[in-house]
C-alpha cells in the first residue's frame, strides 16, 4: 500500500515538474490532486469495489435474491461462518458446517385431558413462536467445502434492452458443494440476506443516478436560462428557486410519494417516478451556483465572439458557458450522491418509497424497525453496515474531490 502511494506521489511530482502541468485541463488537474489524497483513494477503491459488486450482483451472490432463490429449509437461519481451521485440522479450501433443524419437542401430554388452560399456555408460550420453530444446530463433524466458479441459477450479466444485448450466464463466484451458503443468514422467508444486500446496492445507486441526472437537467435549465437571460426572467426564476429552497424537502417528497401511491404503477415505474421526484425538487443549490457563474461569464470576450459569429443563445449556453463550469458540476453531482441515497432510504423507511419484493437498501433498512428482527434476527442488520460503508465511501470520495477541485488548495503545499 505504502509503495503504491509513494508511486502516485512520485507520478504527481513528475507531472508537476513537467511542462504538461501548465497546459493540463481542469479535469486532469483535479484527477492529479485527487490521486494525492490517500483517504480519498482508499475510499474510492472501496467504493469501486462496492459498486462493482452491486452491478454484477448476480455473479457475486451465491443465491437468487427473490423468493425463487429462498431456502425453505433454512428460514430465519443465522449466518454461516466460513473457516479454514477447526478441531479436526486445517484445510486450504475454506469450509462451513452442515446443520440440522432442531425439531422442537412439544409436550402435548398435558393436553390429553382436554385442559383448555394448558392449551392457552402452549399457544401463548415461547415454544410455538417462529424463532423457536426454526432453530438450527451446526454439525461440526460434517464440513461443506466452498467451491469457486460454480454453476447456479441463470441470470443476465449485462443487459441493454434497446440494443438487444443480453449476456446470460449461470456461473457464480462461489458456492458450497452441498446445499446453499448464507453468509449473512436468511430472513423469515429463507431469502439470503447477503444476496439481497448485493442486489440492493445497484438498485439504490441506479435510483440515485436517475435522480442526479434529473437534478442536473433541471438545474442546468433553470440556472442556464436565468443566468443567460438575466433581468425579469432571472428575477422570477430566482424568487421561485428561493421559495423552493426554504421548504423542507422530505415532507414534499412524502406528499409526492403519497400521490404516487394512489396511481397504479408497476414497481419499476414507481421506482423511476420516485427518483424523478427526488431529483426534480433538488435544483435550488446547483441552479443558483450555475446562474451566478453564467452571469459573470456571459460578458466575457469568448461569448461575444461566439455571438458575433452567429451562434444561437442555446448554443452559447450549452457549448460555451456550461462546459466552462463542467468540473464544478461533476464534483457537485458526486458530492450529492449520498444525500440522494439518504432521501430514498428515508422514503422507503416510511414505507412510501420502494416496498418489498424490490431489493433496495431502504427496503432492507426498513426491517430494522421490526421488534422481531431486533430481538431474534440481529443478522438482518448486516445491510445497515453495508449501507453505512457505501455512504461513508461516497462522502470521503466527495470530500477528496471537493478539495481536489478547489484550485487554491495547491498554493499551500
Amino acid at each position: 500500500m505504502a509503495g503504491l502511494i509513494a508511486r502516485w506521489r512520485g507520478q504527481h511530482t513528475a507531472f508537476k515538474a513537467d511542462e504538461s502541468y501548465y497546459t493540463a485541463g481542469q479535469l486532469a488537474l483535479i484527477k492529479a490532486r485527487f490521486l494525492r489524497n490517500t483517504t480519498g483513494v482508499v475510499a474510492g477503491g472501496l467504493l469501486g469495489l462496492l459498486v462493482l459488486m452491486g452491478f454484477f450482483a448476480p455473479f457475486f451472490s451465491p443465491n437468487a435474491p427473490g423468493i425463487e432463490g429462498a431456502n425453505p429449509d433454512y428460514r430465519r437461519g443465522a449466518p454461516q461462518s466460513i473457516q479454514f481451521c477447526d478441531a479436526d485440522g486445517c484445510s486450504l479450501r475454506p469450509f462451513t458446517y452442515t446443520y440440522v433443524k432442531e425439531v422442537p419437542k412439544l409436550d402435548l401430554s398435558s393436553l390429553a385431558g382436554g385442559d383448555l388452560n394448558a392449551l392457552d399456555a402452549l399457544t401463548s408460550g415461547d415454544s410455538l413462536s417462529a424463532s423457536s420453530q426454526n432453530r438450527f444446530i451446526e454439525q461440526t463433524d460434517q464440513r461443506r467445502y466452498l467451491q469457486f466458479w460454480v454453476q447456479g441459477w441463470e441470470y443476465s450479466l449485462f443487459k441493454v434492452e434497446w440494443l438487444g444485448i443480453d449476456i446470460r450466464s449461470d456461473r457464480h463466484l462461489f458456492g458450497v458443494d452441498q446445499g446453499q451458503i448464507h453468509l449473512f443468514g436468511t430472513d423469515e422467508d429463507g431469502k439470503d440476506v447477503f444476496s439481497r444486500t448485493l442486489h440492493a446496492i445497484w438498485v439504490t445507486i441506479s435510483i440515485a443516478l436517475v435522480a442526479l441526472a434529473v437534478k442536473l437537467f433541471v438545474s442546468l435549465l433553470v440556472g442556464g436560462i436565468s443566468g443567460y437571460c438575466g433581468g425579469k426572467v432571472d428575477a422570477v426564476l430566482m424568487s421561485i428557486t428561493e421559495a423552493v429552497r426554504v421548504i423542507p424537502p422530505i415532507p414534499v417528497y412524502l406528499a409526492c410519494a403519497v400521490a404516487l401511491s394512489q396511481i397504479d404503477l408497476t414497481p419499476v415505474q414507481r421506482y423511476f417516478a420516485i427518483a424523478v421526484v427526488i431529483g426534480a425538487l433538488d435544483f435550488a443549490a446547483l441552479g443558483r451556483r450555475l446562474r451566478t457563474h453564467i452571469l459573470t461569464e456571459r460578458n466575457q470576450d469568448y461569448v461575444l465572439a461566439a455571438r458575433l459569429s452567429g451562434a444561437s443563445s442555446s448554443r452559447i449556453i450549452w457549448r460555451h458557458l456550461v462546459p466552462s463550469f463542467s468540473s464544478y458540476i461533476i464534483v457537485d453531482t458526486l458530492i450529492n450522491f449520498p444525500y440522494v441515497i439518504l432521501a430514498e432510504t428515508s422514503l422507503s423507511f416510511l414505507g412510501l418509497g420502494l416496498t418489498e419484493p424490490v431489493n433496495s437498501l431502504g427496503v432492507l433498512l426498513q426491517k430494522a424497525q421490526d421488534p422481531d428482527i431486533q430481538q431474534n434476527m440481529v443478522w438482518q442488520f448486516a445491510p445497515v453496515g453495508v449501507f453505512v460503508l457505501l455512504i461513508m465511501a461516497f462522502v470521503f470520495v466527495g470530500d477528496a474531490l471537493r478539495d481536489a477541485a478547489d484550485p487554491y488548495s495547491e498554493r499551500k503545499r
Binding site: V246, I247, P251, L254, P338, Q374, Y408
Partner: protein
Amino acid sequence: MLAFLSDTWLLWLLLATAALLWSRSRRSQLFHYIFNRYLLALGTLLLVSAIVFSLMEVLPGDCAEKMIAYKNTQGEVITEAQLAAERARMGLDKPLPVRWANWVFDLGTKGDLGFSCSKRQSVNAALGDRFWLSFGFCIAGLIFAYLIAVPFGIVSAWSLNKPWLDRKAHHSPVRRVRNSLGLILAKLADLQLRLLSYLGLALPNFLLALSIILLYVFAGEPTPTGLFSDAWRSEPWFAETGFQWGKLQDFLGHIWLPILVIGWAATALQLQTVRALVVDESNKLYVEAARARGIDGMRLWTRYPVRHSISPLFNSVGFDYQRIFNDLPIVAVVIGLTDAAALLIEALAMTNDQELAAGILFLVALVVISMNFITDVVLAVVDPRVRNSVMNGGGH
C-alpha cells in the same frame, strides 16, 4: 370596530412595520435596505404559500369526502348531491387560485391557517404548542451543532495543512517538543471528530435513534421514547407543592435523545462547512499580507480568517434550521414524539389532511424566511463589508 380590528390584526401589524421602515428608509440607506429585504421576505412567503398550497392538491381526497366517509361510518347513507352540497359549503368547488387567495387572505389578516379536516378543528388549535415544541427541538439541535462544529471546525481547518511534528530549525528543542505535542493532539482530535462526523452523515437519523433505543432495550432499561415517562405524563407542571422539579428532570431525561439525534447530522454538515469556509479564507491574500506585517500564530488566525468566516456561517442559520426540521419528522416517528413534525407525517401520509400539512410546512418556511431576514439585517448592521456593499451598491 373592535371586532374588525381583531379580525385583521396581522394585516395592520404587517402594514405598520412596512410603513415604519418606509418612513425611515427615505433618510437612511440602511433602512432602505431593510425595507427592501422586508418586501422581498413577504414576496417569498407569498410564493411559498402558493407552492405549498398547490402541492397539497396532489394528496388524494378532499375535506368533503372525508366528512362523508366519517358520516358513512356512523351509519348514514350519503348521496352524490349531498357530497356536492358539502363541497359547496366548504368552498371546495371553487378553482384552486380562488381557494388559495382565500387561504392567504385569512392567513394575512388574522393569522388563521385554515381548518383541519381530520382533527375537526382549526389548524391553529390543532397545532397549539406542538409547533413551539418542534421549534424548541430544532433550536436546541442547532445550538448543539454550532457549539461542537464551530470550535472544532476551526481547529480542523487550522491543522489541515500542518505536519504532525514541528521540525523548524529555529525553534528551541523544548519549544519543538511542545509544539509537536500540540500538533499531534490537534490532528488526532481532528481525525476523530471527522470520523465521527462522517458517521453522522452516513448513518441516517432514524437508524441512529433506533440503535440508541436498541441499546436501552438490550440493557434492560426503560427506553427514553416520547416526552415523558408514564409516571409523569399526566402530572401537571405546577402542583400544590410548587413547581414539579421531578417532571422537569423526567422531561430532560427524554428530550436529549431527539436533540442528540438531529443535532449529530447537523453537526457533521456544519463541521465540514466551517472547515471549508475557514480554509477558503485562510488561503486569501489578506492573510498573507497580515503575515508579512509580522502578525503570527493564534493572533493572526483568530483576527483574520476566523473572523471573516463567521458572517457567512451566521447567514446560513435559516437554512440550517430548515435542514434540521427536514430530519425531524422521521426521527419523531421512531422516537414517538408528539410534536408538529409527527403531526406533519400523520397529516401527509396517513390522514391526507391538506390544510394541516400546508399550515405546518408554511410555518417552517416562515421561520426560515424570518431567520434569513433577521440575519441579513444583523449582518448589515454589524459586518462592515456587508454594510459597505449595502450603502454603495445595494441601496438603489
